[in-house]
């Protein structure tokens, strides 16, 4: 049956060429996201083990990673990676501005900007109405309002968690000009903001972009960078129409990723998903049953 299907697809592709996919994310974006996944999961696992050190699983993690010393090293290395991602992304924005948008104004306040705007407000309102059965499904552009929130949650998170993390990493340096008790406050902010980030990413973000029933079990767009045209038409109607209107759709289409790549990506994503899920369950357990 499956071989029949493959034969069918091959015949179809050789004949019609309509299996090309829309390229939503550049290679750089994909790599950054993959790095982000690695970095974030490393930070989350090692950091949560410290935050919930009184829970049995925290000790298990520390042991599994080769002792707490190793966990600390992993945490700091992942943090460095995260800072790297942050700065590469900032550089990428600069390149985007320079090569594509021409000015910061166009980049930040154009149609494809990540900056939330009035349209997002209207779309959010319309979405709630749709959720409640009081209206049709709204049409979205390149970035929905929840994607924009995700983006800024990470942006904000990196800044807050990163800066407090640095004071905790280099306490002697920072207490040259900050009071010692600031380290206590930094600890609270660092760890609770991290809890927020971990909780958000492993539940809301996972759901919003990967686990939604219509995409279950997984939306691999962010890893492959490719999106089926049908999906583009269905989920990003405004963007699709814009592309059609501008006549630039064709130049944004590409052949699907080779099967082996897709499989590797799925494996990677599954691992990340599993780690995230287990961690979130562990955190929930620790907070509900053994919270101090």
């Amino acid at each position: 049956m499956s071989s029949q299907k493959t034969v069918l697809q091959v015949q179809k592709s050789s004949r019609t060429r309509d299996n090309r996919e829309y390229v939503r994310f550049s290679v750089k974006c994909r790599v950054l996201h993959a790095c982000m996944v690695v970095s974030f999961i490393s930070l989350a696992v090692t950091g949560m083990a410290l935050k919930f050190s009184y829970a049995f699983w925290a000790v298990l993690i520390a042991k599994a990673l080769g002792g707490f010393q190793a966990a600390g090293i992993i945490h700091r290395a992942a943090a460095v990676l995260m800072f790297g991602i942050f700065f590469v992304h900032l550089h990428d924005l600069y390149l985007l501005k320079k090569n594509k948008y021409g000015s910061w104004r166009n980049l930040l306040f154009g149609a494809n900007s990540m900056i939330p705007n009035a349209t997002d407000g209207r779309q959010a309102f319309a979405t709630i109405k749709w959720f409640l059965g009081m209206g049709p499904k709204p049409e979205y552009g390149r970035w929905t309002y929840w994607e924009k929130f995700d983006y800024f949650a990470v942006f904000w998170g990196i800044f807050i968690i990163g800066s407090t993390g640095l004071t905790l990493w280099f306490p002697v340096l920072f207490t040259r000009f900050l009071p010692g008790a600031f380290l206590n406050i930094a600890t609270i902010i660092h760890s609770d903001e991290a809890l927020l980030a971990v909780g958000f990413i492993f539940t809301i973000h996972f759901f919003n972009t990967h686990l939604r029933p219509e995409k279950f079990p997984m939306d691999t767009t962010v890893f492959t960078g490719h999106m089926k045209l049908a999906e583009l038409k269905r989920d990003k109607q405004l963007e699709y129409r814009t592309l059609i209107a501008a006549g630039t759709l064709e130049e944004n289409l590409a052949e699907p990723q080779p099967t082996i790549v897709v499989r590797a990506i799925r494996l990677f994503a599954w691992v990340a998903l599993m780690i995230g899920t287990v961690l979130i369950v562990s955190i929930a357990y620790a907070m509900i049953f053994v919270y101090r």
């Binding site: 707490f68 306490p171 600890t187 609270i188 902010i189 609770d192 539940t203 809301i204």
Partner: protein, 679 residues
């Protein structure tokens, strides 16, 4: 036989003095004397009529002896008030002057007790067999001039006794030459002895003279069991003056004689030669060989079937190799055929090891051993030290050698053994914990014999339960017990806030074992100790331990990182002081230095880090409280909004899923139709 001439010579003055003496008699004599004198027979004056003549002599045994009696001395003598006939009873009714020599006076008429003793004595028996050298009463006490024994003029007064006895027992005298007396130079030796010197040179009349040891009348050879200087009695004789000497002797003998004469039970005189230099030892006594005649038989059994075999080798190689059997089995009676049949008591080691014995009886072991209902499991000396093969604690083969002590104690105190079973305290797996401990490893693995074994902490003989205030491991005494080795630590601890001398409180203060445990003590710089200390401090300092766990140090520790600061890294271990004390590690002056131990370059602001901060206390830590609740609000807010967003989305998402499936199905149908059309 008295000559006629003599008769005349005595008759004459008698007639001359007769009247005067009668008068004297009436005027001066006591009524008692008068009664005595009133009997028939010659008056004293009648006797003296002749005997006051200095020339009066008589032939006795072929020798001419003076029969002069100095009236003045007779009157002054203790017998001065007696009539001559009281002693010379055979004068009664005789005409004077009497011709035949009078019989020997029998002092026993009055002094029957002394007479009886003398008769049985060496002197008396010699006299009875007619030994011309044998002394009679008068030989020592004199005849008519006897003064009270207590008088300093008496020939038997203490000061002159040596001279009196020396008359016969002088070197070269016939007695010394012909008698069977083994002692030589008695007088010379005596005069140089401590007794002789005291008596003769210093005039200390209570110093022992001949009669003090040999008695006055009952002089017997040492071989006679009844003799005051017989082996069995000599101790009693000496202790007449040296009343505590037997005890002293056992303690202070230093084993000198026992080394020389290993198998003989010594008597005073074996060391303290009777006169000065003793050359011949007493022959009577119990020799080990006598015991071994039976006990070397391997099959020898007691009536209750216990083996009575004694390996000669065991004794010979033991610490007691120079101690005679009879010194320990002291009930033996050498005069019996089987000397050991007199034994009724078990060996009492405390006869020699007195102080240890006393300590043992006060110990838990001793208490159960000596109780009215003795505990059959209670150990006595031999349970630990062995019986015949007692080896000192310095002998590696000895059960009491340091490396063997844990095994020795474990025989009863190992889990499941008799002592562990009756024990109801909190210490368990004692022996296995000990062998895993720093002390146990040092001792058993490295063979470090100065390492603490059971006995170093519990003492060897004074073992008491920790609850006993006298116990070496009682909480009051524990720091000094550990301080025997860890002196420096003890000194620090004594000045610390945990010491009862510093902190006056009703609460229980910690002692060494509260942090280090009792038997499972591990290295304090090892992970297992470092990671457990918070829990131990936290038993009392509950709040600060809890808040410690909210900080980085505590959390990291919980994950098993021992490198991070534990309680004592900041507060000090044994020298913990109040943080307000300038000498405290955490005082204003010292705190930065303390942080710098780990955080090189830390400054004063760094030390402002709140090591025990909690965000649950708004009064003490308002900023932390606000930061925590601010962050919590952010979390709750975010999750509420997006949680709701997601939950509301789910039904729509399922709806979309259905629609997409349907659409895909339609498309597939269309595709199929197209294919079919194409064909």
């Amino acid at each position: 036989m008295v000559s006629f001439y003599l008769r005349l010579r005595y008759l004459w003055p008698r007639m001359m003095l007769c009247l005067a003496l009668v008068l004297c008699d009436v005027v001066f004599m006591s009524p008692h004397s008068r009664v005595l004198a009133a009997g028939p027979g010659p008056e004293n004056s009648d006797c003296l009529a002749c005997h006051c003549d200095k020339q009066l002599t008589a032939k006795q045994g072929g020798k001419v002896v003076s029969r002069y009696i100095e009236e003045k001395r007779f009157k002054a003598s203790i017998h001065g008030s007696l009539s001559c006939t009281s002693c010379h009873a055979d004068l009664e009714g005789k005409e004077l002057p009497h011709d035949a020599p009078l019989k020997k006076v029998n002092c026993g008429i009055c002094h029957s007790e002394e007479q009886a003793l003398h008769a049985k004595s060496l002197h008396g028996r010699a006299l009875a067999r007619g030994d011309s050298l044998a002394p009679r009463c008068s030989s020592c006490h004199g005849e008519h001039d006897i003064v009270a024994v207590k008088s300093k003029n008496s020939p038997v007064a203490p000061l002159v006794v040596p001279l009196l006895c020396g008359k016969c027992h002088r070197e070269g005298s016939p007695v010394q030459k012909n008698g069977k007396i083994t002692e030589h130079n008695i007088l010379e030796n005596y005069s140089e002895s401590i007794h002789g010197e005291a008596l003769l040179k210093k005039g200390l009349v209570v110093a022992a003279n001949c009669a003090s040891c040999h008695t006055a009348h009952s002089v017997l050879p040492p071989s006679d069991p009844a003799s005051s200087i017989a082996r069995g009695n000599i101790a009693a004789t000496c202790s007449k003056c040296h009343s505590e000497i037997e005890q002293v002797h056992r303690k202070t003998i230093n084993g000198k004689l026992w080394e020389k004469e290993a198998h003989v039970l010594p008597a005073c005189v074996d060391c303290h030669q009777p006169h000065k230099v003793r050359k011949v030892y007493y022959e009577q006594g119990m020799a080990d060989a006598d015991c071994m005649r039976c006990h070397e038989n391997e099959k020898l059994k007691s009536h209750d079937r216990r083996s009575m075999y004694v390996r000669a080798d065991d004794v010979a190689t033991s610490r007691h190799s120079r101690v005679a059997c009879s010194q320990c089995h002291s009930d033996v009676n050498a005069s019996r055929v089987r000397p050991c049949e007199a034994i009724t008591q078990k060996v009492d080691c405390s006869k020699c090891h007195d102080a240890v014995g006393q300590q043992f009886l006060r110990s838990k072991h001793g208490e159960s051993f000596a109780a009215n209902k003795p505990d059959p499991n209670a150990p006595s000396c031999k349970e630990c030290h062995g019986s015949h093969k007692v080896l000192g604690k310095h002998d590696p083969a000895s059960p009491s050698y340091p490396t063997n002590v844990p095994t020795l104690c474990a025989r009863c105190h190992r889990e499941g053994e008799k002592a562990a079973l009756r024990y109801s305290g909190t210490q368990h797996q004692i022996t296995s914990q000990y062998s895993e401990s720093i002390h146990g490893k040092g001792l058993l693995e490295s063979g470090l014999t100065v390492t603490a074994t059971c006995t170093n902490c519990h003492t060897a003989h004074g073992v008491l339960p920790a609850s006993d205030a006298q116990s070496s491991v009682n909480s009051k005494n524990l720091s000094s017990t550990c301080g025997q080795c860890h002196r420096g630590i003890e000194m620090q601890f004594t000045n610390s806030v945990h010491s009862a001398t510093v902190t006056k409180t009703d609460k229980q203060l910690p002692v060494c074992s509260d942090c280090h445990t009792a038997h499972g003590i591990v290295r304090a710089d090892g992970d297992s100790f470092r990671l457990k200390i918070m829990g131990r401090c936290g038993r009392c300092h509950e709040d600060v331990a809890k808040s410690y766990f909210e900080t980085y140090h505590g959390k990291v520790s919980q994950l098993g990182n021992s490198k991070t600061a534990q309680c004592y890294d900041c507060h000090g271990a044994h020298d913990i002081l109040n943080v307000n004390d300038p000498n405290s590690h955490l005082s204003r002056q010292n705190v930065v230095k303390t942080c710098q131990k780990c955080h090189a370059g830390a400054g004063r602001r760094f030390a402002g880090y709140l090591t025990h901060a909690t965000h649950h206390d708004p009064k003490k830590y308002p900023y932390l409280f606000v930061a925590f609740w601010g962050m919590t609000a952010l979390l709750v807010g975010t999750f509420t909004v997006f949680g709701a967003h997601t939950i509301l989305w789910i039904p729509r998402a399922f709806q979309m899923r259905r629609e997409i499936r349907e659409e895909e199905a339609r498309e597939a149908e269309a595709e199929k139709n197209k294919e079919r059309d194409h064909e």
